[in-house]
């Protein structure tokens, strides 16, 4: 099964890395949208449907927490699972993200396995078969 993903990060390098990790992890992407901040993400959502959003926190104009807030308040978008990928990983910050509707939290710096695991936990499909068989029950994710 393939899915549509939106990666929200003001760093083009980080967007490229996340996309690369998703792809090499065996997830099949139909469409990969990119946005440089929360506001741009919301604009792109008006014309595109995505199955999952992967967002940074610290971005100009509209940060990732504000994006989460906007998504959770919109009946059209509140069902889209959002994963936060951030350098900010304090327990308070993670709790705040969860309260605003985040379904997963990945701390930078990360290893490919970190993204693969959280993405699998959140969307429940795709990824390498080996991973699904061996690790789907060993949950040590942040949420």
């Amino acid at each position: 099964m393939s899915f549509n993903v939106m990666i929200v990060d003001d760093s083009g390098a980080m967007r490229a890395v996340i996309k690369k990790v998703i792809t090499i992890s065996g997830f099949k992407i139909s469409t990969c949208l990119e946005a440089t901040n929360g506001r741009e993400a919301l604009e792109k959502l008006k014309e595109n449907w995505v199955d999952v959003i992967i967002s940074d926190v610290n971005m100009p104009e509209m940060n990732g927490l504000e994006l989460l807030q906007s998504l959770s308040q919109d009946p059209l978008y509140q069902s889209i699972p959002t994963i936060i990928v951030s350098t900010e990983g304090s327990s308070e910050r993670m709790k705040e993200a969860l309260n605003r509707g985040a379904k997963g939290f990945i701390k930078k710096p990360f290893q490919p396995e970190d993204i693969r695991k959280v993405l699998y936990d959140v969307i429940g499909v795709g990824g390498d078969g080996e991973y699904q068989e061996d690790q789907r029950n060993s949950d040590d994710s942040d949420f």
Partner: protein, 152 residues
């Protein structure tokens, strides 16, 4: 918390970022570093506040881009290098603060990048509340400077 402990935390944070994200392995150096060409800065505030600067040269930046993104020489440009360097200081800052105090919230600025003439960094004495760490890599040296206040 004493400065030695803070230095250990910052060093570990730097190692983790460069090894995990850029596959760049480094060793601490006692020297002052080089005349650097590139600088990226981030400010942070919260229970403690301060700023972190990273100084490095083009060969390390190229290695970071190559290792992180798999790009070859023809795809290399200053914008991509700046992006990687800004992301490195962003991650060093977040990783350091997480290790310093995992329970409290800090606020970090958007990182900035600038091309510099090397003399801006070299020769400056280490100031109070300032840490200057230099590392050797296969592609040259890099230096991280952190000023911090509010640590008791």
């Amino acid at each position: 918390m004493n400065i030695k402990k803070i230095k250990e935390i910052l060093t570990t944070a730097i190692f983790e970022v460069f090894e995990k994200m850029f596959y760049v392995f480094s060793e601490p150096l006692q020297s002052e570093g080089d005349n650097y060409q590139m600088k990226s800065t981030i400010n942070f505030s919260g229970p403690v506040s301060g700023e972190i600067h990273i100084f490095l040269n083009r060969p390390i930046a190229e290695m970071m881009v190559t290792n992180m993104l798999g790009l070859d020489d023809s795809e290399m440009n200053e914008s991509i290098m700046a992006d990687c360097i800004k992301e490195s200081v962003n991650m060093i800052c977040g990783n350091f603060l997480r290790k310093l105090d995992p329970d409290r919230v800090f606020h970090a600025s958007i990182p900035t990048f600038e091309m510099i003439s090397g003399d801006l960094h070299r020769g400056q004495e280490e100031k109070d509340q300032e840490l200057k760490l230099t590392f050797a890599t296969d592609n040259g040296n890099m230096t991280v400077v952190m000023t911090v206040s509010g640590i008791s």
